[in-house]
């Protein structure tokens, strides 16, 4: 097994607050790697560090053995990394399909003159992209919205649309930031199915999620964060049995006894 993504002694400070501190872990190729932790544990900060939206205060991130230090967010898609957002980042001024087509940006020509004159090669490539993206919308289960405007879609479908857009960039590694937040049980079950099929295509998935049932049922590896530090790492069964994790989520035995007394 080779590490596709490796995080080495990563740290991020916000004015003295250590959002992420001395964090190291590796994500192996083709796995579903989940990151869990209580609110404020630094999960989204970690995602923003990995995807270049924040610059780390210390340490670094390597993708396929290549350092991501100093990379702008737009330089990561060509390296094979794409992500979704906890608070949706959908372009509401575009149709659903165009949002997905945006994901294929790096595969299409954008020459100024080619675009102004709409040359036949561009027209053909764009039509092919349109069909591929429609298929991706079917794949994530929002095919019924292919002809809709993004602003006319319900929340659950927008979450999937964002996954479709990320997939459109043909990533090697996909980072999903709380994809199940705000979804009901049925929608979450459907999402589990989508994530599993993404992994089956050979795409490595890094998942930040609060929904324990979802995390424990699909993850190969689980990393538990607490106050920006690694609390535990292992298979779902190992994590379930880990006393530190139980303490972090439910409070330690001492305070639990006090609470019940």
């Amino acid at each position: 097994m080779t590490a596709l993504l490796s995080v080495d002694q990563l740290g991020k400070e916000f004015g003295g607050v250590h959002a992420v501190e001395d964090l190291s872990f590796q994500v192996e190729k083709g796995r579903i790697h989940s990151i869990i932790g209580p609110n404020g544990a630094g999960k989204t900060t970690l995602f923003n560090l990995i995807t270049g939206l924040y610059q780390p205060s210390s340490g670094g991130v390597h993708l396929n053995g290549r350092s991501l230090a100093g990379h702008q967010p737009h330089e990561l898609a060509p390296l094979g990394m794409c992500r979704t957002f906890q608070n949706l980042q959908i372009c509401m001024n575009m149709t659903a399909l165009e949002n997905v087509m945006l994901g294929r940006h790096r595969h299409l020509k954008q020459g100024t003159f080619t675009s102004l004159f709409k040359l036949p090669a561009l027209r053909r490539a764009d039509q092919q992209c349109r069909e591929e993206c429609a298929e991706l919308m079917e794949f994530v289960g929002c095919g019924q919205y292919i002809q809709h405007h993004a602003s006319a879609m319900p929340y659950g479908a927008l979450k999937r649309l964002e996954i479709a857009r990320a997939l459109a960039s043909s990533p090697d590694i996909l980072l999903l930031d709380e994809p199940a937040a705000g979804l009901n049980r049925n929608e979450t079950d459907a999402l589990r199915d989508v994530i599993r099929r993404i992994a089956d295509k050979g795409i490595t998935v890094v998942l930040v999620e609060h929904d324990m049932k979802l995390v424990m049922s699909i993850s190969d590896q689980v990393l538990v964060l607490c106050y920006g530090r690694k609390l535990a790492e292992g298979t779902p069964d190992q994590i379930r049995a880990n006393p530190d994790v139980i303490d972090a989520y439910l409070g330690n035995r001492h305070s639990r006894e006090e609470a019940t007394a």
């Binding site: 945006l102 940006h105 790096r106 020509k109 292919i146």
Partner: protein
């Protein structure tokens, strides 16, 4: 995956552009039927040229979400640039117009390059400054530009014929006046401006631009170098303004530094906001309305700026999407 799912081309076609373009062509061809005299033609030519600038500016404001307060400077640079190239360097008008546009493209690139990778509205500030500088230069460099007195411009020559607004020409057996020919040129220019703008909007480049407005983070994560794309659309919109400015100079035969004024830049922005940001056809209507209003206010010229300001405020308060998108939405809701 592609074998498993049958093709449904009808479901995923791009929305057709030809109905809108056909409607525009019909309107442009039909308008001369209602034009009684040269004064009407003059107005229509000015509306068409201004509308073309607005179509270009709309790419920047309405689609990429950036505001230029100095587009009059690019318009004036096109007008003065081509006029001076013809006058001082003996270049024929059409190549002069293209050379001026290339010069404006370089100017816009130089202004935009250091600014457009910054977040926020720094472009407005820089273009505001550029507009003020352009007006000062045109007023004070009177050796070159004629100063506040203006500059005479040589007429356009096409296929070896000089095109004078006062002349009359034989066109495929029809006798047409110079003004009518000019209407044809202005209308054709507007039509091509719209065609190119629509092509651009519906291309991968256009999607990237619209995404900048929708969610800049989403665009970045998809691999869009946002600064580069803002710069590119800024240059394109400046070239639109330059070409229209050159044509305006050739048509009018005389230009003054007024066309570079801050008032003119504000007028252009008002047209885009009134017609509808991100609505290519809307801004044509906006141009028509804003150029027709002064015709009914001939007695109160000093009120013009007040009225433009009032329109801008009213649109922002009552229909921030602009005239055409607001009305289109209302009709869509009423339709079953």
């Amino acid at each position: 995956m592609s074998e498993a799912i049958p093709h449904r081309p009808s479901r995923v076609r791009a929305p057709a552009k030809w109905p809108g373009l056909l409607a525009l062509a019909v309107v442009l061809l039909a308008l001369p039927l209602f034009a009684g005299n040269d004064y009407h033609y003059d107005l229509m030519i000015k509306i068409a040229l201004t509308a073309a600038v607005a179509v270009g500016l709309n790419l920047l404001v309405g689609y990429a979400g950036q505001i230029s307060l100095g587009h009059a400077a690019f318009y004036a640079a096109g007008a003065y640039g081509s006029a001076l190239l013809v006058q001082n360097h003996g270049i024929t008008p059409v190549p002069a117009m293209l050379l001026a546009a290339a010069g404006v493209a370089v100017l816009a690139w130089l202004v935009g390059k250091p600014i457009l990778h910054l977040k926020g509205h720094y472009l407005s500030m820089a273009t505001l400054g550029l507009g003020v500088i352009a007006a000062i230069v045109l007023n004070n460099e009177d050796q070159l530009t004629g100063g506040p007195d203006g500059l005479p411009v040589a007429p356009l020559s096409l296929f070896g014929h000089e095109l004078s607004v006062f002349g009359s020409y034989d066109l495929f057996g029809l006798t047409v006046t110079g003004t009518q020919v000019w209407y044809g040129i202005a209308a054709g220019f507007l039509f091509l401006s719209v065609l190119f703008a629509l092509n651009l909007i519906d291309s991968p480049l256009g999607r990237a631009l619209r995404a900048l407005h929708g969610s800049e983070i989403a665009a970045q994560v998809a691999g869009v170098d946002t600064g580069k794309f803002k710069l590119r659309v800024f240059v394109i919109s400046a070239v639109y303004a330059s070409l229209a400015g050159s044509l305006y100079g050739y048509y009018g035969g005389f230009i003054t530094p007024n066309i570079a004024s801050f008032t003119h830049s504000i007028e252009l922005i008002t047209i885009v906001v009134l017609g509808g940001m991100a609505s290519t056809y809307g801004v044509i209507l906006g141009a028509a309305i804003l150029l027709l209003i002064p015709q009914f206010l001939t007695g109160f010229q000093e009120l013009e700026m007040v009225l433009f300001g009032a329109i801008l405020m009213a649109v922002m308060i009552f229909m921030p999407r602009g005239l055409v998108p607001t009305l289109a939405r209302r009709f869509q809701k009423e339709a079953p």
